[in-house]
Symmetry: D2
Subunit: 265 residues, 4 copies
């Protein structure tokens, strides 16, 4: 069979003696089954990045094995749950000391308009990231939540009105392995810290409601960031987080921006 | 009930007397059920653009009705089939003379490696677009197919090797309403006109195969374009098409590019 | 000399007999000298797309000649003025019946804050496009102007406040060859049709001004579009235009969108 | 004068007592004068991100001051040189303990084709980043260099040909303050580690040259990464670096990817 006659260049020894931290594949598109809070599973369209550490003794890693492992695990219901199991497989099959895996995907939640009660799906950019170094496992859950912010300064100094805009909050958290944090809960946490949440479907009575809600609730990017930090302070299971808040100002072409990260003991 | 007390600004008469060709919503994210050739349906994550013509007598259209209609139709199995039915609903509920609707989505096909026979999913960017002007309906099916191109000039003038690269072919076609053209068939048509198709998973024996296939089959962007035009010439059901071929040259940072469109009688 | 020994594959006859409308290079990065209204020239960082029609008798065009011509003309002060001269050169050197050329670039204008009078540069995405078919020349000037829009419906139905957002207006115009339309004037035309212009630098007194200006001047995307169409109606030199208006709604993740195009006799 | 009557909301005390690491403006577009190695200065179109740390006692930072400082410094010839001076100004005017500033811009270098000797400009995405914490200053210089990579495995196992593609290398370095590292030198370092550099303009004799050069010089992403690491090992002035290498595989739609970062004593 031809397979065994072809030389395995990647497997050759390397004489430069240089270890590499991450080698792998990026931007692999794959359908994925995600577990939802209190609901059926959801099939999402994900982008995967998968890598291993490469020892200084070997010339290259075997890129196609990542795709094979992804194919095998992608059909299981539990990939969205058992990232650690998938990383153990990668470590073993690629003969590496550490492995890293990230999925980024659009996740849909049914969202109810605040007054009319009408329901419509809203997509959030989310991510699962797992890192396995030797046998130490760390998991990072990520959400990107678009919200409305209304400027406190503009409200205070103007006789009427206040500029407001779409703002994107990116929140990544790590938590103790025996705990569980849901995407739905992180998204709600962020939306509750904004001037107003964003909705896909709003009838006139809903539009009145969110307009007045934002006006009553003005927030700088600094305010949202601090309110989120304070909320996370109430969740003892979170061991590390970072939060990035970018307001696409309606009065400028640049953004107002704030960022903070913190490791907790 | 509050709903009826709120003034309907969009419904006011407009005195500028200017008709607008397209008014609507853009970049609406929604899960969608797509019919597959000979297979089960596929749930995709789509971006929708929906619009109507607006008569010079009215100030504005009712944007939220697009989202309501999308929500109602998005749950049906047949939206991927009955774009025309959805457009009739839009025309009626928004009281317009013409309506337009486009879905763009990543569509996964199981792809078999040429020698090892290993199977892995590959995502293609696809689109459905429907246009209803009065009662005349037109449908446009779109695929974006990444392929390999190997440069005939580089092969001819070099003592060994030839530069090759990822090339993106975008093909849009219209066809007679009583006919059916499948995404799978359009994708295969394009891949057969390239130096080599692209695969998500290739073992060494497959890599040897596609390397040699591309070398034996050198193509300029002009060649791919003409071969696709010739293939479409064999499909009498196609009434209009456009094809765009962009090669992300491995020896330059710019692209080689070719485009053609044609209406057939 | 080696140059003459290498076979010219592109120059070979083609037997498929298929004409192609556009063949060329895309996304070529190049510094460019642009003429400004009443001011010194400005050096911009442009992306160029250049193409010719290819007769059915020839296998390929000579892509490197586009880059050579661009290099020669890019050093002249007059490329920003004499697109037609550059197209004549392309037609001749590539032996083609028609040629097309587009430059896209960020153009900076010094912008004065409305109350404090402070001045700061603001970048606008602009474009020059020329098309030469046989000896008929057409030129398209394009601007992308970010502005603020404040929703008339939200203002009317809410007890206080009104949602507003960044909105992007894209305007392309053609005009009679003996006329001259300036980027600066098209940008001002669009800004005057918005709820408020956008500024890079606003002190508190300016922020109060633009907040109240937008609140006093609510506009749907339909309103901006019609006001721009009406303004262009006062410019008899414009022979064709298209305008696209997309509001990145602060209360949704999708956009409100309107589009119109028109040829004038 | 109205200026002094408007309440300064940002200046109010904050009771949450939460410090924030970075608060500022992002994506500010500005023309910038960059110093070139052995040549005249170059005007580039930059995107700036500027931020300060915000003490827990204050509600907000004064975003407009960043734009004012950028305007003042942007007109000086020395901003491209004296990032530290600009950061000192930011720290002082915003009354902060630390400040951070990043410029990202397209930088053009005249590039000579290897055989014909023809010269044409090529744009590289570059960045300057400065961080001032208390009085400790750190500077990061960044380049993004597109190159060609040719796959060693494909060459070895195939009877003829080898797949090759455009690969993007991102290199960021810090160096001792009294030293100077030029963009031109970092770009050359990366290009020398690839299968072949990329050129904007290649005549047939040049195309033959780069095709054969790449074939004679096959490299995995792992090889490029290690060769760059080894080259940086010869530059004692570099105190920290990170390098990211992504190959846009011509036979896949995903990328092969490698990354490494290192602090040196």
């Amino acid at each position: 069979m031809i397979r065994f006659k072809l030389k395995d260049i990647q497997n050759l020894p390397d004489e430069r003696g240089i270890d590499i931290q991450y080698v792998g594949v990026k931007n692999v598109e794959v359908p994925l089954i995600i577990q939802r809070k209190d609901k059926d599973n959801q099939v999402v369209s994900a982008k995967a990045t998968m890598s291993v550490a490469l020892s200084g003794e070997l010339r290259g890693t075997h890129m196609s094995r990542f795709i094979e492992i992804l194919g095998e695990w992608g059909q299981k219901d539990l990939l969205g749950v058992d990232i650690e199991g998938c990383l153990q497989t990668i470590k073993q099959r690629l003969n590496a000391e550490s492995a890293r895996l990230k999925f980024e995907f659009k996740y849909f939640i049914k969202k109810q308009a605040p007054v009319s009660g009408l329901i419509s799906p809203m997509g959030y950019e989310c991510s699962f990231e797992g890192i396995l170094i030797n046998d130490k496992y760390n998991f990072i859950l990520g959400v990107e939540v678009p919200v409305t912010t209304l400027c406190p300064c503009s409200k205070e100094i103007s006789d009427y009105g206040a500029h407001n805009q779409r703002t994107l909050v990116k929140l990544n958290v790590s938590y103790a392995p025996q705990q569980m944090v849901w995407l739905e809960d992180l998204i709600a946490l962020v939306e509750n810290c904004a001037s107003s949440p964003i909705f896909p479907l709003l009838k006139r009575e809903d539009e009145k409601y969110v307009t007045e809600l934002a006006y009553n609730n003005p927030k700088f990017v600094e305010d949202i960031l601090r309110d989120i930090i304070a909320e996370i302070g109430k969740m003892p299971e979170i061991t590390w987080f970072e939060v990035d808040c970018e307001a696409f100002e309606s009065i400028h072409t640049h953004s107002a921006w704030a960022y903070h990260q913190q490791t907790r003991d």
